[in-house]
Symmetry: C2
Subunit: 107 residues, 2 copies
């Protein structure tokens, strides 16, 4: 099975998390997987091509925001809620709430 690197919770940097979430498509992705739990890239309904979605998935993974599990040809994304809560209590919740509240549209 292919190994994908994920930063340890202690290594997760605030600036990297904020950068990973500074894009409307990535905000949409985390909002979706927060609601539904683990999902494959293919199940996330965003108007971007597959390579762009892979790029977003990688940015979120490298920042420590999502965990990506490789299952056959699928990549299954889940939020690292516990790790983020441990590192930055309340942060993810306030960002998701701000996103739901203002409903920023995907360009």
């Amino acid at each position: 099975m292919k190994y994908l690197h994920h930063p340890d919770r202690e290594e997760i940097q605030l600036s990297s998390v904020l950068y990973a979430l500074s894009d409307p498509v990535r905000l949409f992705i985390i909002s979706e997987i927060q609601r539904s739990g683990e999902r494959s890239c293919g199940e996330i309904d965003v108007p971007v091509v597959k390579s762009t979605l892979s790029h977003h998935s990688r940015t979120l993974r490298e920042a420590g925001v999502v965990h990506v599990r490789v299952h056959g040809t699928q990549r299954l994304l889940s939020l690292r809620t516990e790790d983020l809560e441990y590192r930055f209590p309340g942060l993810l919740g306030s960002i998701l709430e701000a996103y739901e509240r203002t409903g920023e549209k995907i360009q």
Copy 2:
């Protein structure tokens, strides 16, 4: 007096705010002005050249995070706490708390 554009509070976008705060120097700047209130760029002790500081100030202003007041040759920065709280309740506080907690260093 030179006019600098600031977005209206209703125009402030979550992704732009998160992008503006996704840099250790800009996180340091807002942490400083949150503590001290309005400060000039010259009073903020960051290890970057003046033009870089101007760039950071502009990024924060255009995202709606800071207000910049021109006073003679000085530019005075203050946090748009009320506008951000109105738009995204709790967000700025949770980011500043996360910053204080983990003490991300300026590279």
